[in-house]
């Protein structure tokens, strides 16, 4: 029996959370090793597991994969969440890249000084409402299907749900002008694997708190 994928990261969302979402949605069990000290991090670097000296790291299928997007693309392909052909794949890539752009602003904002952090959070909500969510609302409206691409559950749906939930943490009413996205959110959240991941006690991580931020700053030395 193949070993479970093993994730190496801090015990928090950061750049690993999208990977956890994708694995969980695909119904794949995974293990996690949490980096809690500078020594642990340096050991990973010195043991040669981190190609560019950085995490996330995912051990899977005999490979030590780093670089978030490389990992996500591999997982999407492996678990049939990448569309049926090249044209569907590029649409998934476009949607996911846009969504990840939005989420990155939020993830990095957590590490900024309080005033800049608030500004960035406000900017995230604004971009979500004016640049990103309207696009996905229109896509759903134009084809009237349950999923973003090819009438089939894909990475694009998972990534969008994750983004919606993250932005809602900043502004609970952000979906008020987007009825199809609201329905989408409910529908995708009810998929059994995702429903399970959304329960307390799953491997889903909470939003960063000051303890997490301090820990990451200390370990990554910035």
């Amino acid at each position: 029996m193949a070993a479970k994928p093993k994730l190496y990261y801090f015990c928090g969302r950061g750049r690993m959370e999208s990977i956890r979402w994708l694995l969980a949605s695909a119904g794949v069990e995974f293990e996690e090793e949490f980096i809690e000290t500078r020594e642990q991090y340096e050991k990973l670097q010195n043991d040669g597991y981190l190609l560019f000296g950085q995490v996330p790291l995912v051990e899977i299928d005999g490979m030590a994969l780093t670089q978030t997007r490389a990992i996500l693309s591999y997982l999407a392909a492996k678990y049939n969440l990448y569309g049926k052909d090249l044209k569907e794949r590029v649409r998934i890539d476009m949607y996911v890249d846009g969504t990840l752009d939005l989420m990155m602003v939020m993830a990095l904002a957590a590490f900024k000084p309080p005033e800049e952090k608030e500004e960035n959070f406000a900017l995230t909500v604004k971009k979500a409402k004016t640049r990103y969510f309207p696009v996905f609302e229109k896509i759903l409206k134009d084809h009237g299907e349950d999923f973003l691409v090819g009438n089939k559950f894909s990475w694009a749906d998972i990534q969008l749900l994750e983004a919606i939930l993250m932005v809602e943490e900043l502004n609970a009413s952000v979906l008020c002008d987007f009825p199809l996205l609201k329905a989408f959110k409910t529908r995708i959240s009810n998929i059994p694997t995702i429903k399970k991941f959304l329960q307390p006690g799953s491997q889903r991580k909470p939003a960063p708190d000051s303890h997490y931020i301090e820990l990451v700053r200390h370990i990554l030395q910035f």
Binding site: A70, M94, D97, G98
Partner: protein
């Protein structure tokens, strides 16, 4: 006959250059429509041509493609520059994502405030010789082949060689201790399609000067 891909961007490198390199290396002829003013960009946005209101945008195979990575991956797949299977693709992606991190630092340098510039350049040089170049030198050494992945030209080789040229423009001494990278650069540069692209008069764009930086800032409304 299929229409040539059409690239929409300003007349400069920016985030479109790596796409130009990949198309050129694949021997694909392409057209370019340059955004010369804020009004040009507005028009593209109003026409609904830009999914997230941003460029690069490439018209190809009946689609208006956006997002640099999505475009590169599409071209790589279409022209067989993406390895032979999922595992090779993962390696190619991993290498290119690392290269892209360094590329991004250099790309954003012109927008760096003057008082931070020296520190930024020092960081770029340090990362180049300590974090990035050693990885690719080691990959080439480990298999002794002509290309980074699967003994075949891929998106990873093209992207790396473009990066090597950009780093050379910043500081030619940085590549000195990396003989295999030097050899890769020469080898890839001698491929007929790449050689052609490196000639004057090709669609390759020069480094940004003050004037084109000001123009780009105006178009994209960057302070």
């Amino acid at each position: 006959m299929a229409a040539k891909p059409k690239l929409h961007y300003f007349n400069g490198r920016g985030r479109m250059e790596c796409i130009r390199w990949l198309l050129a290396a694949a021997g694909v002829e392409f057209e370019e429509k340059f955004i010369e003013s804020p009004e040009d960009l507005e028009k593209l946005k109003k026409d609904g041509s830009l999914m997230f209101q941003q460029v690069p945008m490439v018209e190809i195979d009946g689609m208006k493609m956006v997002q640099t990575r999505a475009i590169l991956n599409y071209i790589a797949t279409k022209y067989n520059l993406y390895g032979k299977d999922m595992k090779e693709r993962a390696l190619i992606d991993m290498y290119v994502e690392g290269m892209a991190d360094l590329y991004e630092m250099i790309l954003l340098l012109p927008l760096c405030p003057p008082d931070q510039k020296d520190a930024k350049v020092a960081l770029i040089k340090e990362r180049t010789i300590n974090r990035y170049f050693p990885v690719f030198e080691k990959v080439l050494k480990s298999h002794g082949q002509d290309y980074l992945v699967g003994n075949k030209l891929s998106k990873a080789d093209v992207y790396l060689v473009e990066l090597l040229y950009i780093v050379e423009e910043l500081d030619p001494s940085l590549i000195t201790s990396f003989p295999l990278l030097k050899a890769l650069k020469t080898r890839i540069s001698n491929l007929p399609t790449v050689k052609k692209f490196l000639q004057p008069g090709s669609q390759r764009k020069p480094p940004m000067d003050e004037k084109s930086l000001e123009k780009a800032k105006k178009i994209f409304n960057i302070k």
